[in-house]
Symmetry: C2
Subunit: 223 residues, 2 copies
């Protein structure tokens, strides 16, 4: 039997690539997405399409009331998404988001006895969120193996971050080689109702430069 | 201004005592409870009463779809709650529960700039859950300060566990001295529809012995 993995799938470029990498490495994948009140809700539709195209054993979309406890430009309609680069950790940061996502992935992984949890964080061409860095991932993995029955008994859980040291261009080239259809993905922090990208937010900029540097035609639908 | 704290309040004996301790230490408290499909739902009603009696700035009850991803005697009606002590980690263990709860508390705490998160875990008279031990709490705190903007910038978050080394009797004596009304609390894993305790599950046994050893009349309503 192949090894099982839980893969966090947001509908963006990075997580679509991560899922393709996990599958290419022979893992039987369970995809997990969150409906957490994100303003870019077309990401969830993108997540469904990515998962359908790639093929997983199960895709779970978990409703999570993050809006009630966090204020962020990604969940709070009263906070504007910046259209220029900003210093430090940006307002699009959602407090403890990856910690919450990984914690719920850990719970499902323990039930499934899936010892591998894939997350498409990247610490090179990224927005500067603290919960995308290797130090955070290492600390989470250590905590996870103290927090859980399987972790304690078998020291089993691994947090897999295949993209963490890759450039955006490198991620895109890898994804293209694995057949990822980036036309299905949505990365924009502030898309319109039809899921078309703004082209000016931090995430759009990183994505556009990535396609250019990768020498790959950008399939993004812009407003 | 007094320091702010987020306090996890389940409606059980331990968290009621933890909240009373946090308040006695001068913290301005925000209480957080979870509606996660627990079969002992009267705990949530107990949490409301405990919080009302004690006094907090805000009490948030967050809906969390844990049932969909975890199988446990505490959430899965098809798994029986054991009425005898069992070896090892019991079936009432909910995968990654305290990790998920603390992660969401962390998100709220960051928004509030509340640098203290109180959780009533106990590693003496407890059910053997891995996520109640000091090693887990230390690892979570370390992770939290790598995961968050405030953690990285100010290395600020503390996970406070005032009960962790106390006996159940000691917890009860402390709570009584602080005016906690344990008649409001529900600890049973398998209460009836009126919130009356079974008297035979692991949690009931620990609680009953605690009152006896504390020399305090047990106000628990039994079936």
């Amino acid at each position: 039997m192949s090894q099982q993995a839980v893969v966090l799938v947001s509908g963006g470029l990075d997580s679509a690539t991560t899922l393709a990498i996990a599958i290419s490495q022979g893992y039987s994948c369970y995809a997990l997405s969150f409906d957490y009140g994100q303003r870019h809700r077309c990401e969830l539709e993108a997540a469904k399409k990515v998962v359908q195209q790639t093929g997983v054993i199960e895709h779970k979309i978990l409703h999570l009331d993050l809006v009630g406890i966090t204020g962020s430009a990604l969940t709070d309609p009263s906070v504007a998404v910046p259209h220029q680069p900003t210093e430090g950790i940006p307002v699009t940061y959602v407090p403890a988001r990856n910690t919450v996502f990984l914690s719920l992935a850990l719970g499902w992984a323990e039930v499934l006895r899936a010892f591998n949890i894939f997350i498409g964080v990247n610490a090179v061409d990224y927005s500067g969120y603290p919960d995308c860095r290797p130090d955070f991932i290492d600390a989470f993995e250590k905590m996870a193996n103290l927090a859980t029955k399987l972790g304690v008994e078998e020291h089993a859980f691994k947090i897999k971050t295949p993209l963490i040291k890759m450039s955006k261009a490198g991620i895109i080239q890898r994804g293209v080689s694995l057949g990822v259809d980036y036309g299905l993905t949505v990365s924009c922090y502030d898309p319109d109702a039809d899921g078309r990208a703004c082209g000016v937010c931090d995430s759009c900029r990183l994505r556009a430069v990535g396609f250019k540097e990768a020498g790959v035609d950008d399939p993004t639908r812009y407003q």
